[in-house]
């Protein structure tokens, strides 16, 4: 298990480096997916399979899919890759690297002095345990999180409605099949929102 931990941790670090250095946006997002999967494996190795499974379901399986979805629809071509390559100059790296080094040094020194055993070992995190904690002592936070999500939902629905008011004449549901605009993706997106917004 220890080997699995170190291997997946190494993979997470390498994949995250890939996210930063890869000039192709879709490849970078895929590196991020790999990084999240590696972090999920770290959770499995630490004896918290529930957290690992949630990491895959929520981050790799839902949020990152939306990332890929959006990046895909932007239809970024070779121009973006070249631009990104131009931006990835050593001097651009300098400032963030210095700041990150300070953080890294702090982390290493903490790990060096602290009780490493206690850091790596954790109690078995079960679904029942998480549920009892969330709906017991942390109930208020759960409710606040729910409020935040509701606000996001209302916002999305509102944005979808604005699109509808601006273009009243064609039935908005026919937009995706219309395909008169060259960017099919952009025609598609508001329509999905519109359908969802209409019903909320």
């Amino acid at each position: 298990m220890e080997l699995a931990f170190y291997l997946s941790a190494l993979m997470a670090v390498l994949a995250t480096l890939g996210v930063m250095t890869n000039p192709n946006p879709v490849h970078a997002v895929l590196y991020l997916v790999v990084s999240l999967l590696a972090v999920a494996l770290v959770f499995f190795a630490l004896g918290a399979p529930f957290a690992g499974a949630l990491e895959i379901i929520v981050y790799a399986g839902a949020i990152m899919v939306l990332f890929v979805f959006v990046v895909m629809m932007l239809n970024l071509g070779q121009a973006t890759v070249d631009q990104e390559r131009q931006w990835l100059q050593p001097r651009t790296w300098l400032g963030p690297s210095v700041l990150a080094t300070v953080l890294l040094l702090t982390l290493v020194s903490l790990l060096w002095r602290g009780d490493i055993q206690a850091v790596i070992e954790g109690g078995g995190l079960t679904a029942r345990g998480v549920g009892t904690l969330l709906y017991g002592p942390w109930l208020l936070l759960v409710e606040l999180g729910a409020l935040l999500l509701l606000a996001a939902l209302v916002t999305a629905s509102h944005v979808g409605r604005i699109g509808k008011v601006a273009a009243p004449s064609p039935a908005p549901r026919d937009l995706p099949t219309g395909a008169s605009t060259p960017a099919n993706g952009q025609a598609h997106q508001p329509s999905t929102n519109g359908v969802a917004g209409e019903d909320v």
Binding site: V33, P49, I57, V65
Partner: protein, 336 residues
Amino acid sequence: MDWAMLDNLRPAWLNPTLLATVIAMLEAVAILLVAVLVSAVMTVVERRMLGLWQDRYGPNRVGPFGSLQLIADMLKIFFKEDWIPPFADRTIFLLAPGIAMASLLLSFVIIPITPTLGVADWNIGLLFFLAMGGINVYSVLLGGWSSANKYALIGSMRSSAQTISYEVFMGLSLMGVVATAGSFNLREIVEAQAGLWFVIPQFLGFCTFLIAGFATTHRHPFDQPEAEQELADGYHIEYSSMKFGMFFIGEYVGMLLISALTVTLFFGGWHGPLLPPFVWFALKTGVFLLLFILARAALPRPRYDRVMTFGWIVCLPLTLLNLLVTGAIILLANPA
């Protein structure tokens, strides 16, 4: 045969732990191969059954009753030119079919086939299936994007939007089962159904799970991602040969997986009178596989926005209602 005597003949390095490990590994490989084989056979069974239900002959030329059609298909798929379009994103184009097969095949790990047969016995069993379902979206998404083809892109966009929407309440529809059985572990869920199959107390959950299963495997009433008349072939339009074969078989692996899961979660898994457990499991799974085919034979394809609206307006409230009522009943039956 005297097994004790055989035990003496055993070399020293072959201790029982190692033996058990090897047997478990062989079992896992066998389950994997059987899953792929059944999926491949299903491609032909589907065409024959479609023929039967639509009042025509299906493929009946190769071998007795068309039983060797599968071999002909496989030969064709293996020897076709393996074409990668020059404008495609090569790495991702190659990666996508692999994700399609691997993520679905990995999900078979959690399915308990009989009381003794089954690969893994995990406490997060059901969550693992949902996680692999989440990963499976990438295959279609990346396949469509890397093809650099507008039809493929539209198909993969439809597919990912549809799958993400339906996965939301696929997870929610299973929570009623989880709450009733008190576990994510599929083996415990099956054992909890010894008296009463969950399809009766969790009927709404069963309906929504099956619909979501159809939608996430892109099977017929929900096969907008590859709707022939509008999108030619959707996300795998640029794929040929074995890479297309992996997408193609992957669809049937998905069907098999959803059928097996439906049986495990709602129809008591291996439970049943008289016949041995494995036969019961296979029979029930077969019924659901046929249901998948019957739906394709009988139903027209709805418009894409109707599919999305149906999901969010009908299925999501139903699953929430189901979960709420289930929770209330559990709390009333045994107040904490």
